[in-house]
Symmetry: C2
Subunit: 313 residues, 2 copies
């Protein structure tokens, strides 16, 4: 069985003071804390490329897991919509070379946004099974600072840069990938898009979509394995904003709301990196046996999945 | 077992006279026929988006397979590095909506170039297995006309636009995906890239890489299942150019050279669409039991695989 063994992340050192930034748009600190959910935003150096963020995250993963050798990494998969190059090549190829991985490493990028981690887990697990691989590293790295219009308060107050690396293996994985449910609706493609180099988001539409769609999507996952929210110890939602995480938690009802983890790590909405960052920092809790994850955003696209502990960390 | 059931393609109607184009660069018809391999190049309408090419290919697949209903398509995967949007959203989301597929369809894009079809088969097969899906459609659509510098003779004489759609299913597939071998080498990322909106290719380096790398890569695939080139009835290489297909065929030796299929369909090098177009048009030959496919290009990236017939067409 192939599952998740370990996760590491990299948050660039650069910080934007989000309280000051919000004030320039006439918003106070209470709005920053309660609605946005983050008083600082991480931002990469101009000179750092997406592949450099990938390298940092993978280096952190390797440092944390000395038993994982570069020559054992059979696939390197990067989830991004803001890679190094304009159109080609794919960022995983560049990262493979910068990391000094063997040329027998299968490399490809997946183009997905905030749902990317959930999709990616099953894509990579499946690819490994289909090809008989034992070890792969899946990276999320989608630096929105590359496409940010700093005059657009709908976006500049929310997004931060980060990258994560997840070791997937058939060798004593900690988390099994259980049931999942995916969906997409291109009718909402216009709600999150890049035009003339700048990112645009219809925040109201995205908020409404997520607040309505995600709980039924998670319920569907639970139904597939005959479980209910009562069987789940933690819920790791994409950290789109403080407000959307709170809204979904509230809809879940008092009994389950406290299982919803909320932490933007002083980085902001880090797109496909938000869920693995939650798992990295919270999931070593031995009480966590069944964990729901759910990502949602650009596409529109959404995916929820159940992770089940099969080994101690 | 999940495999390939059916393939359809779409070649846009627009044609560039490649003999005339070559003459403007001081090249004669003999060069066009023997080295480039195509006297015409297909080109999409300016107004056609990548997702429109996807829709045409999928519509052709549906027309050819009336038993495949839109509501049965559980995943739509698009292989492209030249999608509709600058960075996001992904093209599969837009195509899902234009096609009227259900919002329960899992949609994602894979960023790979000329190796994309071979990789994509195992990615999609794996994703389907990991998620319990029965039917998916994988689309290739990478219109290089969007990034072409018509003054660059290294590229403008070679590439054409096309799209293909492959029905992958657990329901009586015709072709089983057998052994495979993948690799990548970002040291060659510079040899095929887009900068300032224009595609650049170091044709010499790409030619040398492919002519050296591909036969050992195919041999590795055969070794995995204890077969040799003598057991293979056909070899479908990415149609990078007439010259590279001929060079690999020649290196295979007289006995096997004739198994190498060469056909650019008057379209040119259609990136990830070249291999599925060969399969669509030639693989209904009942003599074909074991077929090698091999893609190579941007990344650098390469992948070879063995397809084995398990049902008649």
């Amino acid at each position: 069985m192939i599952g998740i063994r370990s996760i590491a992340s990299y948050i660039p050192e650069g910080r934007i003071d989000n309280v000051a930034q919000a004030q320039s748009f006439g918003r106070d600190e209470e709005f920053v804390v309660n609605k946005l959910g983050t008083k600082t935003l991480s931002v990469k150096d101009e000179a750092q490329e997406t592949s450099d963020l990938c390298v940092k995250a993978v280096d952190n993963l390797l440092a944390k897991n000395p038993q994982l050798k570069k020559e054992d990494i059979q696939a390197l998969v990067v989830i991004t919509q803001n890679g190094d190059a304009e159109a080609l090549p794919h960022t995983s190829a560049i990262a493979q070379h910068k990391l000094g991985l063997p040329t027998t490493t299968a490399c490809f990028d997946i183009s997905l946004g905030c749902s990317g981690y959930v999709y990616g887990l099953y894509i990579v697990q499946g690819f490994m099974q289909a090809t008989g691989m034992k070890n792969a590293v899946m990276v999320t790295a989608d630096p929105y600072s590359k496409i940010m219009d700093r005059n657009d308060r709908m976006t500049t107050l929310l997004f931060g840069d980060a990258a994560t690396a997840t070791w997937m293996t058939s060798d004593e994985p900690v988390w099994k990938l259980s049931a999942q449910s995916f969906g997409g609706d291109g009718a909402g493609a216009e709600y999150l898009k890049v035009e003339d180099g700048h990112f645009f988001m219809n925040g109201r539409q995205v908020f409404n979509f997520a607040s309505v769609k995600i709980i039924p999507n998670m319920q569907e996952v639970l139904d597939k394995v005959g479980l209910s929210f009562a069987d789940v110890q933690a819920i790791c939602l994409h950290q789109g904003s403080g407000a959307i995480v709170d809204a979904i938690a509230k809809r879940l009802g008092e009994e389950h709301a406290e299982k919803v983890i909320k932490d933007m790590f002083g980085a902001g909405n880090t797109v496909s990196s938000s869920i693995p960052m939650l798992l990295e920092h919270y999931a070593d809790n031995p009480q966590w046996k069944n964990v729901l994850i759910s990502g949602f955003g650009v596409g529109l696209s959404w995916g929820s999945a159940l992770l089940q502990r099969v080994n101690s960390q």
